[in-house]
Amino acid sequence: MKKWLAGTAIALTLALPAVAQDDTLDPNARPGGGIIITYKDDVATLDPAIGYDWQNWSMIKSLFDGLMDYAPGTTELRPGLAESYDLSEDGLTYTFHLRQGVKFHNGREMTADDVKYSLDRVTDPATQSPGAGFFGSILGYDAAADGSAKGLEGVKVIDPATVQITLSRPDATFLHVMALNFASVVPQEAVDAAGGDFGKQPVGTGAFKLADWTIGQKLVFEKNADYWREGIPYLDTVTFEVGQEPIVALLRLQKGEVDVPGDGIPPAKFTEVMGDPAQAARVVEGGQLHTGYITLNVTTPPLDKLEVRQAINMAINKDRIVQIINGRAKPANQPLPPSMPGYSTDYKGYAYDVEGAKKLLADAGLADGFETELYVMNTDPNPRIAQAIQQDLSEIGIKASIKSLAQANVIEAGGAGTAPMIWSGGMAWIADFPDPSNFYGPILGCAGAVEGGWNWSKYCNEAVDADAVKADSFNDPADPARLALWSEVYQKVMEDAPWVPVFNEERYTMKSERMGGADNLYVDPVSIPVNYDYVYVTE
């Protein structure tokens, strides 16, 4: 996928001034103005150590910065608060050289101590960060996570402008981890002053600062005039209005009261919007790092039989399921989405073949089929998709009863391993960062196949796990040999068939007429729905 930061072993010795020139400035951009984004749900928190839903993810991105960042609209890593870094020969020690003169929203200059404080904070069990586990490769993580040590041994402040991070094992994804929201740099005095409420009073170094938050109504982000990327952001304000049903948000957009409905186009209105050329022209389509799949619990008979799982893979008519959701997805044949590096372009997967599936079932001694359960989250369109799956299964004699439950209950059943089959819709894996490893560990690896884990198939193939560890021991995440190894890992997974990959969802972002900026900013792979820092208004 696109360009990748090449040669991470080579230090990026970019001689940049105190204020970074941004190579991605849009010559047509007009600074000023404000936009309105709507959401149905209230924003839970803006604390970068805590926020982990797709709604606050992009907001936090605009309020905070980490050492690494992504070029807007792409999955390409670029330096953030670190101006450059060196990597030691053994691939274990990163030395980050911080950008000088970067100020927090409270006016204080950001230093290496803040970086250390922020990483210690996110891994401190008292913070209860859902992202703590991402930092597992940093030396001293285990001691920090179980509370036996205060702070991470592997993070050292060399001088106010230099931080050294030592890993306990080579980790190809480490720079991606440093670009996660969880690795954002926060000022200790603001965290302490907020007294546990930092999520409502965030202070960062980002392009925007929080100006106003009326609980249950709206949040106003205001341009950070001192932002270290010169010329960014273009907008003066971004207002998030919450509590707006997607259908109401669409009506308001059509009236010109809203610029982007954050929850997207409601499924019931999709055909209507796309059928109207004027409206369709304002919809930007793009891929996303998402796969929708059916998990087959390999510990539950008769799904423990490989033939049965392969038969199910062949029995599902994926094209029809895609039609059910108005074609808002592409059929999938492997766990990775096509836009993810490491995707196997030549892999064909299991073709739709009802007769072949029946034969496999007969080979497994189940010519008469069997009864099983299919768990599904109870919001549209998931129950309808489950019905289609049910129908496909009945074609080969499998009688699946549908268990349609609230999201939390499905997740619970999946984690406990009591669900024979789960349709992942509404809870499906969307990558935390654009790297193939992110689709493995928690959802297909042995580590996730524990009680309460997200590996709902309870699939654990130790040989594949060993390959995955090998792939992540490379220094350069974009090393072709590494990506080839990942491609192989996922093909081996598919041989064992613990999943039926069904489709990869496409993203459709609708915007108002006055909004400007390149299309890829509206389907930014890491800033959903849009990259607030780089979009602008034309009037």
């Binding site: 149905k40 749900d41 209230d42 839970a44 928190t45 604390d47 805590i50 982990y52 069990p125 008292a126 209860q128 859902p130 992202g131 703590a132 586990g133 991402f134 597992g136 996570a145 179980d146 509370g147 546990g196 409420d197 999520g199 409502k200 009326t214 609980i215 249950g216 109504q217 209005e241 919450v242 509590g243 707006q244 049903e245 259908i247 109401v248 009506l251 308001r252 059509q254 009236k255 009261e257 609230a406 999201q407 939390a408 209950n409 997740i411 619970e412 059943a413 984690g415 894996w429 935390d432 928690p442 580590a447 524990v450 009680e451 309460g452 884990g453 997200w454």
Partner: protein, 306 residues
């Protein structure tokens, strides 16, 4: 009277304690783990256990409930799992919006319901009467979600008389209040109609007529006040129905009240918020009923509180 009040308050306290215990128990046995919601999908087993321990969710039910009650006695409704903010603060920030909406809803249901009820009573047996009564039946049965969207589509999108959603100005209040009020107006119009018919049959009305008073004066000055009184006491009981209604109406119109808060919390298994909103609503319902009972003797001196 004082003894009655004390007895009712004790009863109210026990009811609330019961509500708290039942809700807490239901959330406790719920087959969904709040800790997993907090910990997120990438959390290790250790992180999950750490969080469970910090929140005290590894304790037995009685210990958890005891701690919760201990907090309540100090006015502490707990701390939201996901928003990491005091539940009291969250509810406090949203309660005024819900109260305003409720006031608007009560106003609408009374104005619509009483007016239609009086008209139906005066035209008893006519086609108009029958039409209104069928209409009231529809109003009672119509799902509020549908009514809300319909009103929104007609008056905000097509006619552009009101804003589609939002909060803060009078024009924002109209559509949600009407949506909320329509349900109750169906009940009120039926009650008002029968109450009015009873009053119109009463001897004093015949006397007033016989005195030679005009029809309008008889209806407005003599019949109406007497017919309305028994209905006013119903408002207290309405609060319970409204608590259900605001969850729906607030989500349709983007009204920043506690109904919306509850709905979001339920989806995310944010137990402290669910408990908090349940208790606040239950308190409102209990107080509403108490108030209705206390008002009754003033309206109808034949009723004594014992």
């Amino acid at each position: 009277m004082v003894a009655y009040l004390i007895r009712r308050l004790v009863a109210a306290f026990l009811i609330l304690l019961g509500v708290a215990a039942i809700t807490f128990f239901l959330l406790y046995v719920l087959p969904a783990d709040p800790v997993r919601q907090i910990a997120g999908r990438s959390a290790t087993a250790q992180t999950v256990e750490n969080i469970r321990h910090q929140l005290g969710l590894d304790q037995p039910f009685l210990v958890q409930f005891g701690r919760y009650l201990a907090g309540l006695t100090q006015g502490d409704l707990g701390h939201s799992y996901l928003q990491k903010t005091d539940v009291g603060t969250l509810i406090g920030a949203r309660l005024p919006a819900s109260l305003l909406l409720m006031a608007g809803g009560i106003f609408c249901e009374l104005v619509i319901g009483l007016t239609l009820g009086v008209i139906a009573a005066l035209r008893r047996g006519s086609a108009l009467d029958q039409g209104l009564m069928v209409g009231s039946f529809v109003a009672v049965s119509a799902p509020q979600f549908v009514v809300g969207l319909l009103l929104l589509y007609i008056f905000a999108v097509k006619l552009d008389w009101f804003p589609i959603s939002g909060y803060g100005s009078f024009s924002n209040l109209v559509l949600p209040s009407v949506t909320l009020g329509i349900l109750g107006s169906g009940w009120y119009s039926r009650m008002m109609r029968s109450s009015m018919i009873d009053v119109l049959r009463a001897d004093y009305i015949r006397t007033a007529r016989a005195k030679g008073l005009g029809r309008a004066r008889v209806v407005l000055r003599h019949a109406l006040p007497n017919a309305i009184l028994p209905i006013i006491a119903m408002i207290g009981i309405d609060i319970g129905i409204f608590m259900g209604g605001i969850v729906v109406v607030e989500s349709v119109f983007g009204w920043p009240g506690i109904g919306q808060l509850a709905w979001q919390a339920i989806q995310r298994v944010d137990i402290p918020i669910i408990m908090g909103v349940t208790l606040v609503s239950a308190t409102a319902i209990v107080l509403g009923n108490l108030l209705a009972d206390l008002i009754t003797p003033f309206i109808d001196p034949r009723i004594r509180l014992r």
